[in-house]
């Protein structure tokens, strides 16, 4: 077959298939609508481990609900590989076009996704947000921590570890994420209560563990007087880099998040306190709230607060076992064996 012949054949097959599959107009349904619940989950980034644990939680809740109510609940993971509000908006639209019953989203950029959320709701698909809200949209509920209070809690814990004096750097993640900006505000607001503590600077970075760790090391070299770090997300602690680059006797860290990789920092005393977001519950609880709203027609509160878990040497073992129960496979054995 010549190349032109091949092209003709390819086009012929394509046109034939397209024709065989019918036009773009929907065909009438002969059967009653299926009662399966298809929930599209659109987190900020599929390369961030906290969202992977949310996915595990959502899938666990779906499994439980399926067996409990005999209604098939399916989780469709539509999270972009990297943070991009525009791509999230596109995926919300795609989820609706492909028949999602409900959508669960953590907004990278509230301004970008608000229109897409409103369009989805207008087309009969309820939307719930978690972790990072789009308060101006028509989403029916938000589940997550109060970000201002989280920032304040980080600073209060740090002040306690530093005996109320010293110089502090804030590690702030992506400067476009509204939830992270609020946490930074919270840290600064709480810092004002401690006259002997000074905020040296707020350091933004790409939200990958390596970029975050590199930013901490760069900032520490530029400002050697920093002896306390307020991490509003745990990114650098997902690497082991700071265990060798920072001295626990000179520097203290208090960080949001408490994933398995971060536990070594608690043990070594470099991060004596982690304020863990039970990220598994983002998926687990939100899926249940969506089921309540869509399937059981129950009222769901608009704002559902999530409580932080304080992780220190006092409960390292308990927390490690909790993480393992939630499906984390990389929890170090040594911490699982701790009594509490």
């Amino acid at each position: 077959m010549t190349f032109r012949g091949m092209r003709l054949a390819v086009m012929g097959v394509a046109i034939g298939l397209a024709a065989a599959c019918g036009g773009s107009s929907p065909a009438p349904v002969s059967q009653p609508a299926a009662r399966a619940l298809k929930i599209a989950v659109i987190a900020k980034s599929s390369t961030n481990p906290v969202f992977l644990s949310a996915r595990t939680g959502a899938e666990a809740a779906a499994k439980e609900l399926t067996s409990q109510y005999n209604v098939p609940v399916e989780i469709v993971w539509m999270t972009p590989p990297t943070e991009d509000g525009q791509v999230q908006a596109q995926r919300i639209a795609q989820a609706v076009n492909e028949g999602a019953t409900a959508i669960l989203v953590s907004c990278s950029d509230a301004g970008k996704v608000t229109g897409a959320i409103d369009d989805a709701v207008a087309r009969g698909v309820p939307v719930m947000t978690f972790d990072s809200d789009a308060p101006g949209s028509k989403r029916f509920a938000f589940y997550g921590v109060d970000d201002i209070k989280t920032g304040m809690a980080v600073m209060d814990e740090l002040a306690q570890q530093m005996n109320g004096k010293g110089q502090v750097g804030i590690l702030a993640g992506n400067q476009n994420a509204p939830n992270l900006r609020k946490r930074v505000e919270g840290v600064k607001e709480a810092a004002a209560k401690y006259p002997n503590m000074k905020i040296v600077g707020t350091f933004y970075h790409v939200e990958t563990p390596q970029d975050a760790a590199a930013e901490v090391i760069r900032a520490q070299n530029a400002y050697p007087q920093i002896n306390g770090w307020a991490f509003i997300g745990g990114w650098p602690l997902f690497t082991q880099a700071l265990l060798t680059d920072l001295d626990p006797k000179k520097t203290k860290i208090v960080s949001v998040d408490g994933l398995p990789a971060e536990l070594a920092y608690v043990e070594k005393g470099l991060a004596p306190v982690l304020l863990a977001q039970p990220t598994y519950l983002w998926g687990y609880e939100s899926t249940k709230y969506i089921f309540d709203k869509v399937q059981l027609k129950k009222d769901v509160p608009e704002i559902i607060p999530m409580d932080l878990v304080r992780v220190s040497k006092d409960n390292l073992g308990t927390w490690a076992r909790q993480l393992q129960t939630w499906g984390f496979t990389d929890v170090p054995e040594a911490y699982l064996k701790l009594e509490k």
Binding site: F3, V13, A14, S24, P26, V29, M78, D109
Partner: protein
């Protein structure tokens, strides 16, 4: 007529797009529409088709400009940053003006976006010609500078655009609720303009001449420097148009917008058959390249492939599309040579 269509330079890409579309239609499954209760194919429905075109439109508009730069033997890595700066500047000015009538807001927004795009393109072109530095280096530098300006000026805030501007970008034009064809139409208009410029004007022929051989063009009296500056201005123009469409369609602009899009834009041009060594390319093919890339992204989700494989699949698909296109070109050349011998 059919013969001309089937032997046209676009036939290979169109065939791939149609084939992929047919496979998606056949395998995507169906769902019950929440509002109408009707059974709808997950891919072959008006919402998905227009959404796919909309997703492609922001890359495709920029890809037309980038293709013109590539045909002239250059490259523009700054298009994503121009997009971000133009969007942020537009949003800031419109926010600063407060409430204004919709027509003024739209025209002013468009003028600012295009103005920033033209200015950025002119700076790129002037630096490339004036400093005689490779455009890869110049636009790599301006990519960071322009994004940095967007960052500093916006304070990293996501700035909302006035609702009337969004309403224009999301006008349904009588198609029905939640069907927004405006970005797609703008993409088609820009592609037609790009195609007419490249194939029907003296300026377009000069672009091909400069990309084919700069020295020969100079000896032939082609103002090489002006052509080079001109192609960057056109690339800036398309980035400005895309920025206005993107910011107004999604309702906000931030300095992080379009991060990494330059690679999608260049990939669209290359998948569309543009040669990175210059002298070859087409605006229509750039559009088809963008559509193909977006369709591949779409298919990963429609066919329920593991999302984690997205980058691998897109990378492989880009290489396969280019190999397919090059094979097509080789067959065409051989056929021509054989016909000449006869």
């Amino acid at each position: 007529m059919l013969r001309r269509v089937l032997t046209s330079p676009q036939a290979g890409l169109v065939a791939i797009i149609l084939l992929l579309g047919a496979v998606l239609t056949a395998t995507a499954g169906t769902h019950v529409d929440q509002r109408t209760g009707l059974l709808v194919n997950n891919f072959l429905n008006s919402y998905t088709l227009i959404q796919t075109a909309t997703d492609a439109s922001f890359f495709a508009i920029m890809a037309v400009g980038a293709t013109i730069v590539i045909i002239a033997g250059g490259i523009d890595l700054s298009v994503g940053a121009v997009y971000a700066l133009a969007g942020v500047a537009t949003a800031m000015v419109l926010r600063g003006m407060g409430s204004t009538d919709p027509i003024t807001a739209v025209l002013l927004g468009l003028a600012i976006s295009i103005g920033i795009g033209l200015l950025s393109g002119a700076i790129n072109g002037a630096l490339v010609v004036g400093l005689d530095v490779h455009p890869f280096i110049v636009t790599l530098g301006t990519m960071w500078i322009l994004r940095g300006i967007a960052f500093v000026s916006s304070g990293a805030e996501s700035i909302l655009l006035p609702r009337p501007v969004t309403e224009v970008a999301k006008a349904s034009l009588g198609l029905g609720d939640a069907l927004y064809p405006v970005p797609m139409l703008v993409m088609l208009v820009i592609t037609v303009l790009g195609s007419v410029f490249l194939t029907q004007t003296v300026g377009g022929r000069r672009v091909f001449a400069v990309g084919g051989s700069q020295e020969a063009s100079r000896f032939s009296g082609v103002p090489v420097g002006r052509v080079k500056i001109g192609v960057f201005v056109l690339s800036g123009f398309t980035a400005g148009v895309a920025a206005f469409m993107g910011a107004s369609f999604y309702g906000s602009a931030s300095c992080a917008d379009a991060t990494g899009y330059e690679l999608y834009v260049i990939a669209s041009a290359v998948v569309g058959g543009a040669s990175l060594s210059g002298g070859k390319g087409s605006a229509v093919n750039a559009l088809l390249g963008a559509v193909l890339i977006v369709l591949i992204r779409q298919s990963i989700r429609t066919l329920h492939f593991d999302q984690n494989y997205e980058w691998i699949i897109i990378g492989c698909a880009i290489i396969m599309a280019v190999v397919f296109d090059q094979a097509s070109a080789r067959f065409a050349t051989r056929r021509l040579a054989a016909a000449t011998r006869r």
